[in-house]
Amino acid sequence: MTTIKEPEPTISELERVTIRFAGDSGDGMQLTGTQFTRTAAVFGNDISTLPDFPAEIRAPAGSLPGVSGFQISFSSTEIHTPGDQPDVLVAMNPAALKTNVIDLPAGGALIVNSDAFTPQNLNKAAYASNPLTDGSLRAYTLFEIPISTLNERSLDGLDMTSKQKDLTKNFFALGIMFWLYERSMVPTTEWIDQKFSARPVVAEANKRALKAGYAFGETTELFHTHYRVKPAKLAPGTYRNITGNEATALGFLVASRLADRPLFYGSYPITPASDILHQLSGYKTFGVKTFQAEDEIAAIGAAIGASYGGALALTASSGPGIALKTEAMGLAAMVELPLVVVDVQRAGPSTGMPTKNEQADLLQLMFGRNSDSPIPIVAPATPTECFDLAIEAARIALKYMTPVAYLSDAFLATGSEPWRLPNLDDLPHIDVANATDPATFQPYQRDPETLARPWAVPGTPGLEHRVGGLEKADVIGNVSYDPDNHHRMQLLRAAKVAGIARDIPPLEVFGPGSGELLILGWGSTYGAIRSAVEKLHADGRSVAHAHLRHLNPFPANTEEVLRSYHQVLIPEVNLGQLLMLVRARYLIDAIGYDRVRGKPFRIAEIVTEAERILGEAHA
C-alpha cells in the first residue's frame, strides 16, 4: 500500500466511540475488549460493553462459527447501550470480517490483519475473492495492517515458538487502538505483569506486542488523526467497572449481610450463569457455602434444604435448567420457604443459542409450574442494577417467605458498565426473625400484614413440625384434603404474592406524564429504550419511557401509568410475553415490538417503531 507524506497526525475530539474487536475464538478478543474496557473505565469514560462469543470453546480456527467479538462503547456523556453500530471494526481474519462488517456503517474505520487473508482462510470464510482487493470494502475506510508479521518481528529474540508468538497479536491490535484513542498502556501492562508473573517470557512478549502496536500507530502515517474522548461527567463517587453477573453475586453477598443470614448457593454449571458460581465460590472468607450439584434439580433441592435450615438460599441457572427446577420451585411455594431463583436468560427454546441473548423466560417463571403457584418476579434493567435487584429479591423472599424469581439475561450478565460503589451503611437492614415461641407457634399461622408464615428452623426446641408438598390445613399445618381449606389456601398463597405490590416502588415515568405514546419495557431492553426516547425527545417528539423491575406483582400504579397514554408500545426480546401479561391483566390494547435475533435491541429500531406509531396516530 502506498502512503503519501502528510502533516503530523491531528487530534480530533469525539463525544462517543464504539469499537468492535472481532477475531477467532482463540485470538483473545474477549481479553482485548476487556482490557480496553478497563482502561476506558479507569480513565473516566462512561462505558457499555457487549461481548458476543460462540458456544464452541474453540471452533475450527478461521471458521465462521468460531468468530468471537467484543463491542465497547465509551463516551464523555452518559450512555445506556454498547452502541448500535461500531465506528471502528478490528477484524483479525476473513471470517471475523465476513460476520461483522455488515454492522459497520459506510465510512466506518475497518482495521484488518492482512496477514490472515490467506487463500486458505478466505476459503474457510467462504470468500470467493479477496475482499481486500476486490473492491467490496470500498464503502469503508480500510486499514490493512500485517499485524502477525509486525508482531512477530517485535518479539525477535524471545525464546518462544512462532505459534506462541502469534498468540500475542491481539495485544498488538490493542496497542494500535490505545494509540488511536489516546489511552494509557499502564493498566494493561500492570495486568500482564500480574497475570503472567510466573511466566516472565510470556509477560515480556505481551508487553512488547502491546508497545509495538502503540508505536506502530504513532510512527506510521497510516492514521492521519487520533481521537480523544474526554471523561464523562458522572455523579460524584467511587466507581468500578462491573458485569451483571459480578453485580448479581455481590448483591446476594451483601443481602446475606443485610439479613444476617449465611448465604448458601446451589448450582449446576450452565451458560451464561456459571460465572455467578465462580464468583460466589471465592467468597469463602465470608462464610458463603457454594454447592456444585449433580444436576439442576439437586441444586435447587439443596438450596431449599439450606433455606429450611435458616440460610439465605439461592440457586441460579438459565432457561433449560430452570425447566428442570420447576417442580422444586412449586415445592418452595407450597412449603413457603424463602429462596431466590436466578434465571440468566439466553436464546431458546431448548438449548437454543446458549451464549446469545433473549428475554423469553418471563412466562416460564410466571406460570411454569403445576397448578396456581404464584411467585414474585423481579428483573434488573442494567448490569449495575443486578446488585440492587439481588438485594430486592432477597428482601422479598425473606420478608414474604416465598421463592422469588430473578430474571437477568446474557446481555446483562456479560455486559459491563461503570458502577458507583454503594455506601454499605445506607443499605437498609433486612429484618427477618425466626419463630421461637412454642406457646404460640403454628406452622401456617400467617403474619396479618404480609401473610408470611413463620420460619421455624430445626434446632428450635418445642417447634418440631412437619412441612411438605401435600396441602396443609390453614394455620395448624396438618395434611389436609378438606375442599374448603384447599380453596382458602390457594387464595392465601395468591393474596400473599399480590400483596407485595404494596411494598414495592411505584412505576416511574421518564418523559411526559401523559400523552401519545409510552414505551414500556423490562430487563435489558432498558438502555436501548432509554436512548431511543432521548433521541425522540431531541427530535421534539412526545414519548415516555417506563421500565418494570417488578413483573409479579406489577407496581400498584402500573395501570394508572399505562392509561395515561393513547398508545403503549412494548419492545421485547421475545414474541410478546410482557405484552400478553399487560393485555390480560389490564385489558389494555398495547402494541408489541419483538426482535429475537440473539442480540440486544438497537436504538434505531425502537426509534423507527415509535415514529411509525406516532406517524399512524397523526395520519
Binding site: K233, A302, A328, D425, G459
Partner: protein, 359 residues
C-alpha cells in the same frame, strides 16, 4: 473486623456439631418421638414395623428432638416424617437426598435421616442417591424396598424381578432389576447395610448402627407390601426358613448360617460358594471372615450380589468405613480461607480490582 453496625465481617458460623458426647444428658423415650398424627399406611404394611423401630432407637443417640430432621420423598415411605415428633420435610419425588445435602451443609449440627423407597431412591432419584453417597453427606438414608410401586397401586419398580407381572407389566417386566446395595457401594457410601422389616431386633440394631455412623449411610430394609406385592421377600425371610436362607453378617466373625449353624461361605477363586462345615474336611477356618471395615470394597461388593436361592441373603452391615464428611470438608475450607486471608472484607470485594473517583 466489624462494620459500623457492629456486625462481624464474617457471618456467624453454624453452631458446632452436636454429638452424644457434647449433648446435655437427654432422657427421652420412644413415646417422645411419636407425633400426634394418625398413621395411615395399610393395615399389615411393613412400614409400621420400620416406624416403630425407628422411634425406638431414636432416644439412644442423645440428640434433642429439635436437632433431628426426617426428610422423605414420594411414595408410601414418604409419609414417615409426619409420624415422627421431630422436624420433618416431606419433599418431592426422588429429591429428598438433595434437600438433606443442602440442610446438612448449612446446618452441620443436625442429625438427618432420609426416608425413601425403591422407586423414589433408585428410579426417579437415582442420581441423587449416587451423589449424596459419594460426597459422604452425613445422612442416614433408609430405603424401604418392597419391589413395587405401592402408592400408585402396583406398577413394577426398579427392584422388581425380571419377568414380574404387575399392572404395568402384564406380560412380565423386561427390565433387569437393580441391586440396591451394589449401587450404594459403587457410589462410595461409607456405611452400607441391609435388614428386614419383620426382623425387629435386627432392624433395631441396624438402625442403631446407622445412627451412630458419621457419613453417608445406605440402609436397605426389605419390606413387605401386603396389598400389591405380598410376600415379596417371604422365600427367605419367613421365620421357618430364614436361618437357612439368610446370612447374618458380624464383623470379624466367619460367615456361618443355617439352623444347625453348619453352613458357611468360602471363597473359590473369585466367587463365593456355600459349603457345609464338617463335610469334605471343611472347618470354620476355611470360611470367609466378615470385615465391614475393609479398605477396599471387594468383599462388600461380593456380598451385595449374593441372592437367594443360590446363596443365603446377607443382612447386617456390609461396609462401615470412615472418611471426612461433606459438611466437614466445607467447614474446613471456610476455616482455612479465613485462616489464610482473614475474615472477608466487604468493602474490599465491592471495590474489586480498579476503582476511580469522580469529584
Amino acid at each position: 473486623m466489624t462494620d459500623t453496625n457492629g456486625r462481624s465481617d464474617t457471618l456467624a458460623p453454624a453452631p458446632p456439631p452436636l454429638s452424644p458426647e457434647n449433648a446435655a444428658v437427654i432422657t427421652l423415650t420412644r413415646k417422645d418421638f411419636v407425633s400426634d398424627q394418625e398413621v395411615r399406611w395399610c393395615p399389615g404394611c411393613g412400614d409400621y414395623s420400620i416406624l416403630a423401630q425407628t422411634q425406638k432407637v431414636m432416644p439412644d443417640f442423645g440428640y434433642p428432638r429439635e436437632n433431628i430432621v426426617f426428610i422423605s420423598g414420594i411414595g408410601c415411605s414418604g409419609r414417615l416424617p409426619y409420624y415422627m415428633n421431630t422436624y420433618g420435610f416431606h419433599t418431592i419425588h426422588g429429591r429428598a437426598p438433595t434437600l438433606a445435602t443442602g440442610l446438612k451443609a448449612a446446618r452441620p449440627d443436625l442429625m438427618i435421616w432420609v426416608i425413601t423407597g425403591d422407586g423414589d431412591a433408585l428410579s426417579i432419584g437415582g442420581n441423587h442417591v449416587i451423589h449424596s453417597m459419594r460426597r459422604n453427606v452425613d445422612i442416614k438414608l433408609i430405603m424401604f424396598n418392597n419391589r413395587i410401586y405401592g402408592l400408585t397401586k402396583g406398577q413394577a419398580s426398579p427392584t422388581s424381578e425380571f419377568g414380574k407381572r404387575t399392572k404395568s407389566t402384564p406380560m412380565g417386566s423386561v427390565d433387569t432389576p437393580i441391586i440396591p446395595l451394589t449401587i450404594a457401594l459403587a457410589a462410595e457410601a461409607s456405611f452400607v447395610a441391609r435388614s428386614v422389616d419383620t426382623h425387629t431386633e435386627h432392624l433395631q440394631g441396624t438402625l442403631e448402627r446407622a445412627g451412630r455412623h458419621t457419613g453417608s449411610c445406605f440402609v436397605e430394609v426389605l419390606q413387605n407390601c401386603n396389598i400389591f406385592n405380598d410376600g415379596a421377600w417371604r422365600d427367605f425371610t419367613d421365620r421357618e426358613v430364614r436361618e437357612d436362607r439368610m446370612l447374618v453378617l458380624e464383623h470379624g466373625k466367619p460367615m456361618i448360617f443355617g439352623k444347625d449353624r453348619d453352613k458357611g461361605i468360602r471363597l473359590k477363586g473369585l466367587h463365593p460358594e456355600v459349603v457345609t462345615i464338617g463335610e469334605d474336611g471343611i472347618t470354620e477356618a476355611d470360611l470367609l471372615v466378615h470385615d465391614e471395615a475393609a479398605e477396599d470394597p471387594y468383599l462388600a461388593l461380593m456380598l451385595s450380589r449374593m441372592s437367594y436361592p443360590e446363596f443365603p441373603v446377607p443382612v447386617g452391615v456390609l461396609r462401615a468405613v470412615s472418611r471426612p464428611t461433606h459438611d466437614q470438608l466445607i467447614e474446613e475450607q471456610l476455616a482455612s480461607a479465613v485462616a489464610k486471608s482473614g475474615p472477608g472484607d466487604l468493602e474490599r470485594v465491592l471495590r474489586g480490582g480498579e476503582t476511580w473517583t469522580v469529584d
